[in-house]
């Protein structure tokens, strides 16, 4: 009882804060989301599902899944390496390294596509070499994956680094003293400790990988049924005055946020016991 009163605000304040938070999220997230779903269902469920079943929509969904399935694991491995090096060791130039990892956040999506054109475009540094050897990077799947990896590069690392820094290295050091190998230490101590950050990182990375528009738009070439990802396909459908279909595809992407909900609930349920024990510590 005492614990509650010392950590909680009066009922009135609590209610007020919840109201403010709800209105803020309602205005900025709820309203746009409702708009998207309202437009998608404007002509009834039949039109909605028909729109999603079109061959071009399916091709776009497939390409988006492929892209995310390649980009997310790459960034996962990178994120784990980077956070291990940064959180578990002290070395010079650490802030610089961290800033460089953050950099893709600050690059305009317009530019993150353009840099790959400057590198691999026909008029770019490696373009003529690639063309000579018949390697297609740009305006094909590899280019789309590259741009996506670039845009989502910091997500996993960004989530893991602060968490692992806060957790320190005492546990790992103790385990190593007791004779555990580096791998054992990683699998049995670091990874379980970092699982929440890892999950957030992967989910955000995945959401952004699937939703990225600007950068991919520059390197895709917009070939219908071949190099259009879901966000690009949404734009095309919208430009064809096919509003229902455009928003129908968009609802699939919005539903990704619900996937976050499922994943989080699953993990909470699975680790509930463990969570309670750590909370009590």
């Amino acid at each position: 009882m005492t614990r509650n009163s010392s950590r909680n605000e009066p009922l009135l304040v609590r209610g007020l804060l919840i109201c403010v938070a709800l209105s803020y999220l309602g205005l900025f997230l709820g309203a746009p989301l409702v708009t998207v779903f309202a437009e998608a269902w404007a002509k009834g469920p039949e039109t909605y599902f028909k729109a999603l079943g079109q061959a071009d929509s399916l091709a776009a969904i497939r390409l988006t899944l492929i892209t995310a399935a390649i980009a997310v694991p790459i960034n996962l491995v990178f994120g784990l390496c980077a956070s291990w090096a940064i959180a578990k060791f002290e070395f010079k130039g650490k802030s610089l390294l961290m800033t460089l990892i953050d950099l893709p956040f600050s690059v305009s999506p317009v530019i993150s596509g353009l840099v790959f054109v400057l590198l691999f475009g026909l008029q770019g540094w490696f373009g003529p070499f690639l063309a000579e050897h018949g390697i297609k990077l740009l305006f094909a799947v590899p280019g789309i994956v590259l741009a996506t990896v670039f845009v989502t590069f910091p997500f996993v690392a960004r989530e893991l680094i602060p968490l692992m820094q806060e957790q320190g290295r005492e546990e790992e050091e103790a385990a190593l003293m007791l004779g555990a190998s580096g791998w054992q230490c990683f699998w049995h101590i670091t990874l379980p400790n970092a699982k929440w950050g890892l999950m957030y990182g992967v989910l955000l990375c995945n959401a952004r990988a699937m939703g990225e528009f600007g950068a991919v738009s520059v390197v895709s070439g917009h070939i219908r049924g071949l190099t259009n990802t879901m966000p690009l396909h949404v734009e095309i459908l919208y430009n064809e005055y096919n509003f229902v279909a455009a928003f129908a595809v968009a609802t699939l992407l919005a539903a990704l946020a619900l996937l976050t909900l499922v994943a989080k609930s699953l993990m909470e349920w699975r680790f509930a016991a463990e969570l309670n024990s750590t909370r009590r510590l």
Partner: protein, 281 residues
């Protein structure tokens, strides 16, 4: 190698420094640094005076002013309300909390163009909110206010998601101790809770800010795109590209990138310094 490594890092019993840092640097180089260097080299092709003339003409300055100014306002709004939302989500229990929690990631998953269209639909003079605001003399769509609105939307997850885990980890004992020592609730919040949230607040703010600066996809729908008034810097880059002026486009991109980089670096440096001081190093 070991001798060299020891010179710039403190010794530690934890293994794997070489390999993880190696992977990190290799990935960083391939995915981020080489592509971005292509950007700067292209801009350098203009020569010093050409670069200055392109990157700092009056129209470009107005565009930077809008992009950075609106991003600052949007990030401040997100800082305040984002903290509040994180607080409500972590500390209070209410119906629909989980769904709300999942919705936070929506701006990542939803393609920026869809967000722009949805926001414009709502805030245009004939939209659900616009029709209500218009008689009050408040114009949102096709004004600077619209730019800020879109930036708030896309930057929303950053502050919430960086504050949330820290709040979850915050030990209740500290607050209880402060309360039992006679501190009022406000004093506890201001003197105990806020300082421990500070790093997360700053990094969330910084990321929301730099992300908003570069945003293009959603803003072009809701801004009027009038030169000197509602023309954002990334649009200026696109305009240069439409004229096949790659060097001019990269010049503006370089300026934006350098400013964002310096900002992120200063913040990371501050965090690092603060952390070392707290650990007594």
């Amino acid at each position: 190698m070991t001798v060299l490594a020891h010179r710039f890092r403190e010794p530690s019993v934890i293994p794997g420094f070489g390999i993880t840092l190696g992977v990190t640097l290799a990935a960083l180089g391939l995915v981020v640094l080489i592509p971005l260097s292509a950007l700067f080299l292209k801009a350098a092709g203009l020569g010093f005076s050409g670069f200055i003339a392109t990157a700092f003409d009056s129209r470009a300055m107005a565009a930077y002013g809008l992009s950075f100014g609106a991003a600052l306002v949007a990030a401040l709004v997100n800082l305040f309300f984002g903290t509040l939302v994180a607080w409500v989500l972590v500390r209070y229990r209410f119906a629909g909390k989980r769904l709300l929690d999942a919705l936070i990631d929506l701006p990542f998953a939803l393609p920026t163009a869809v967000a722009g269209i949805a926001l414009t639909t709502l805030f245009a003079p004939n939209g659900a909110f616009g029709a209500f605001l218009e008689p009050l003399g408040i114009k949102v769509a096709f004004t600077r206010l619209g730019v800020i609105l879109a930036m708030i939307f896309i930057g929303l997850p950053f502050v919430v998601r960086s504050v949330q885990p820290v709040l979850e980890d915050l030990e209740s004992e500290v607050e209880e101790a402060a309360a039992s020592l006679g501190a009022s609730r406000l004093q506890t919040l201001w003197l105990v809770v806020l300082p421990s949230l500070l790093p997360a607040l700053i990094s969330g703010f910084a990321l929301a800010f730099v992300r908003a600066v570069g945003e293009y996809g959603s803003i072009i729908f809701i801004a009027g795109n009038m030169p000197g008034q509602t023309e954002i810097a990334p649009l200026l880059i696109i305009i240069k590209l439409e004229q096949y002026n790659y060097a001019g486009a990269t010049a503006i991109a370089s300026v934006m990138l350098i400013i964002s980089f310096v900002l992120l670096f200063v913040i990371n440096r501050l965090q690092h310094w603060r952390q070392s001081r707290m650990e007594g190093r």
